[in-house]
């Protein structure tokens, strides 16, 4: 066999200082969850070239002679996980404001705030999240000056200075208690602000010929709202209470051309059939099962299972800590399974569902032509005792070294030595 074999997989990957160049790769022998109609291939052969998946076949299928072979025998292989809602790359340390670009309460602008302008590919959370199997992150700003948080983006987790960023992938709007507070103090105020803003955007630029000010938004924010107002950009709305979700669906029915998804939706199960009928997808955090506020009284860990059973498209994310522990999405999805969600649906909630919600072509699946974001796991990806052995983005095997792994390796041995530990550079 002339194909180069990687036997000591973990050792090889760990020793890589930099990602290798994209070249033909074959992942052989793993249990492949494809996310496509092909289902799960018990022992598969995935051929990858030029950053794309060429084929997914059964064991024994031919492997190109020049391909590097990754032995995935006994392991799980899945599409790269997509973090459906996070703040990765726009904050380094939450409590240190200069390192935090998530919000801007003092800004004159809101809709126009583009979170991608704050993206830092060197943020330590990127590598920390990547080595847990997350290859793409949906990144949202945080609402702070009014109910419009601003423009969110999607990025890969390579940490490369040239990281691919899908800017303005969606507009984040905060409703419910938070939006009410930001809009002036009540839900009616929030809805008045939202409707007036939409009207401003629909009348843009005519309304602004004589003045910079519209009914609710100034020229800059109104212009930024135009794509969403025309249905050309996803509006992601934060809301949890059943009555708020109904109000959003009323709004959607009155504005049929808008593209709407909901994040939070803790009481979504109470209005699940209507969400399904309206075709509104949701991003949920299955840890939410407490009446943490008066808009979450009905929260239950079975939310995802009930929404899915009703036919709603469900993505799962670590909504409560999307910065440093966005990586917990797999554990959260596992808990959703423990609370009744079929394993298959939980896998989709981390891959195909976020890809569908954010329109990420060729991501979230392993199939001919798909982008080669692939993870090889040492066990069931949703299991708390599992970890990735290989993480690949666009066909390139990624480094598994993080600031955390270097700290760990420095302090593995605390024995007395000739020089202080600062001289140990893993």
């Amino acid at each position: 066999m002339s194909a180069r074999h990687i036997a000591g997989l973990i050792a090889v990957v760990a020793s890589l200082a930099l990602p290798v160049v994209a070249e033909p790769v074959a992942i052989v022998g793993g249990k492949v969850w494809t996310g496509t109609r092909q289902g799960t291939v018990p022992s598969g052969v995935i051929v990858i070239d030029k950053g794309r998946v060429v084929s997914v076949d059964k064991a024994g299928s031919p492997v190109p002679l020049d391909a590097t072979v990754i032995d995935a025998g006994g392991k799980w292989v899945t599409p790269g996980i997509i973090s459906a809602f996070s703040r990765i790359g726009i904050v380094e340390v939450d409590a240190e404001k200069p390192t935090d670009d998530t919000s801007a309460g003092e800004s004159d602008f809101s809709v126009a705030l583009d979170a991608a302008d704050g993206f830092n590919p060197d943020a330590t959370a990127i590598a920390v999240t990547r080595i847990e199997g997350v290859t793409r992150v949906v990144v949202a700003p945080e609402a702070s000056s009014n109910l419009f948080a601003g423009q969110g983006f999607v990025a890969d987790t390579s940490g490369s200075v040239d990281t691919e960023i899908d800017r303005k992938a969606f507009l984040l709007v905060s409703l419910g208690e938070e939006g009410a507070s930001l809009a002036g103090g009540s839900r009616p105020a929030a809805w008045a602000q939202l409707r007036a803003s939409l009207d401003d955007a629909k009348s843009y630029p005519a309304r602004y010929l004589a003045s910079n000010e519209g009914t609710a938004l100034d020229r800059v924010d109104a212009g930024a709202l135009v794509p969403a107002a025309r249905g050309q950009q996803l509006i992601l709305i934060e809301a949890n209470k059943a009555s708020d979700l109904n109000a959003i669906m009323d709004f959607a029915e009155a504005n049929e051309d808008l593209d709407i998804a909901i994040v939070g939706a803790d009481e979504g199960w109470r209005v699940a059939p209507r969400l399904a009928k309206a075709g509104i997808p949701v991003i949920v955090d299955s840890y939410s099962n407490l009446p943490a506020s008066f808009e979450r009284l009905g929260a239950t860990g079975e939310n995802a299972a009930r929404l899915r059973a009703a036919g709603v498209t469900v993505a799962i994310a670590a909504i409560s800590d999307g910065t440093h522990n966005a990586r917990l999405a797999m554990q959260i999805a596992g808990n959703a399974v423990a609370n009744g969600l079929p394993h298959e649906d939980a896998m989709e909630a981390l891959t195909t569902a976020p890809a569908a919600i954010f329109g990420l072509q060729g991501l979230g699946v392993i199939g001919p032509g798909s982008r080669a974001d692939i993870v090889v796991w040492d066990g069931d990806p949703l299991e708390v005792t599992s970890n990735p052995d290989v993480v690949m983005i666009d066909g390139v095997v990624q480094s598994m070294v993080t600031r955390q792994s270097e700290l760990r390796d420095r302090y593995l041995k605390l024995d007395k030595r000739d020089l202080p530990l600062a001289y140990v550079k893993p």
Partner: protein, 456 residues
């Protein structure tokens, strides 16, 4: 009084019985085990909590206590028999860092009673006076196999006040939850929080001391100097009589620490600060029982082992503030490997519901770097070690005959994300049954609300 009587005899007795004493238990526990029948669990994979695992094991509970544990036990005729084939049995989980009841759900300002931030030293406050027993979080924790927990005041202050150890049983009063005979604890805090809250507090910088870590240390030492003086006066009074010292609630608590009656639980992230706190404790003659959060414990695991402090840790929280910046996933297994006392804690109404999973993650991350700890040994992070840190390990924390029957039957291996607590026994009484609504408590707050009695 009893102490004074026991200490001396003879003619002076009359004087001594008249002396003023500091009441040690003015809010006594009213908890007593709920009625329970003998229970015989068989065919289970049993983790005994002391480090052993028994395949096809049995456990007998009689009168609320562990009566027998082993392989080939006979079921008494009067016992309720549970065939736990395919299921696992463990000691109940003990979370030694919770704010349930003090920062309850719903998280509205009227119920936010977890931190008396009025001054950097508030050793006079007792968190039990803030605990709202109707917090729905207690029932969620119960569904996660939590049988005992320590409620701590928040970490704004250098000295935050007394903690309290509870049995996780629903009750009308906090006294009805208090763990009988558990010692009191004192919450202290290192690092960022005190200087942020006081020096830079409330948008009125400059606030007041401490502004800095050196201010923190000066604050601890000044308080211990006062406490030492207070203790000397009381010791002298107890021995010699005369004018009784004026009681001081704050110093009562600190004196309790110096007397060895109250255990110190200290919020401390950074390795260098923990090392300094250990020196402070030696200077004033007390002991830190457990460092909490201890995100950098792995850097000084050897020193922590030598000193004999436990570290209460998360599996993977990091980065939310500078003192959490160096958090690593292998902290818990590295501390365990160094021979120090490792504890998995939550500090969260969410995390407390699945501490078994948090231990499982840490266990697996250790394994990934070659630290192979048997699951049954790792379970000590969840029950016996936290029990030790709370001074209740002779009463609970492992399935040893004579101990309280605080027991969880899991649907499968509790190191799996898919396993749930099927039944939870506290002092032998069935307090939670996932498959029986009659044994799933609903707090007052949740009555008449959406989702009342739902599976959560």
């Amino acid at each position: 009084m009893a102490l004074a009587l026991a200490a001396c005899g003879g003619k002076k007795d009359a004087d001594k019985t008249d002396r003023i004493t500091v009441p040690k238990d003015p809010f006594p526990s009213t908890y007593a085990a709920y009625p329970n029948d003998p229970v015989f669990i068989s065919n289970a994979t049993v983790i005994d909590g002391e480090g052993a695992l028994i395949e096809k094991g049995s456990l007998l509970i009689v009168d609320g206590k562990i009566s027998a544990i082993g392989k080939d036990l006979e079921a008494p005729a009067d016992a309720k028999k549970i065939d736990a084939s395919g299921r696992w049995v463990t000691p109940g989980i003990i979370d030694n860092h919770s704010h349930l009841g003090a920062y309850p759900s719903p998280g509205v300002s009227s119920l936010s009673d977890g931190n008396e931030i009025s001054a950097p030293v508030t050793a006079e406050v007792w968190v039990e006076h803030s605990v709202w027993p109707q917090d729905p979080g207690f029932s969620r924790a119960l569904a996660g196999g939590i049988t005992s927990l320590q409620i701590l005041p928040g970490s704004a202050n250098l000295f935050g006040g007394r903690g309290v150890v509870l049995k996780n049983v629903p009750s009308r009063t906090v006294q009805g939850m208090k763990f009988p005979g558990a010692p009191y604890t004192l919450k202290m805090a290192c690092g960022e929080n005190p200087k942020r809250v006081y020096g830079y507090g409330g948008g009125r910088y400059p606030g007041g001391a401490p502004y800095s870590r050196m201010g923190n240390v000066a604050g601890y030492r000044a308080a211990w100097i006062q406490a030492t003086d207070y203790k000397r006066k009381w010791d002298k009074y107890e021995k010699e009589g005369g004018e009784a010292p004026t009681r001081d609630l704050e110093l009562d608590t600190l004196k309790g620490v110096l007397d060895g009656d109250i255990l110190v639980h200290m919020h401390c992230y950074r390795a260098d600060e923990m090392a300094q706190v250990m020196d402070i404790s030696k200077e004033f003659g007390y002991k830190v029982t457990a460092f909490h959060h201890a995100v950098e414990a792995y850097k000084i695991a050897d020193k922590l082992a030598e000193y004999g402090a436990c570290s209460s840790m998360w599996a993977d929280w990091w980065g939310f503030k500078m003192e959490a910046y160096d958090g690593i996933k292998e902290n818990i297994p590295l501390v365990h490997k160094a021979g120090a006392c490792a504890i998995v804690h939550s500090d969260s109404e969410v995390g407390i519901q699945r501490l078994n999973q948090e231990a499982a993650k840490a266990w697996a991350d250790g394994k990934k770097i070659g630290i192979n700890i048997p699951e049954e040994e790792a379970w000590q992070w969840l029950s016996l070690n936290p029990a030790k840190s709370l001074g209740i390990d002779t009463k609970t924390g492992s399935l040893v005959p004579g101990k309280m029957a605080d027991v969880v039957i899991w649907s499968g291996n509790p190191f799996s994300v898919y396993s749930k607590a099927d039944q939870v026994y506290i002092d032998g009484a069935l307090m939670y049954d996932r498959s029986d609504a009659a044994h799933r408590p609903v707090s007052d707050f949740e009555l008449g609300q959406p989702g009342e009695g739902d599976l959560k």
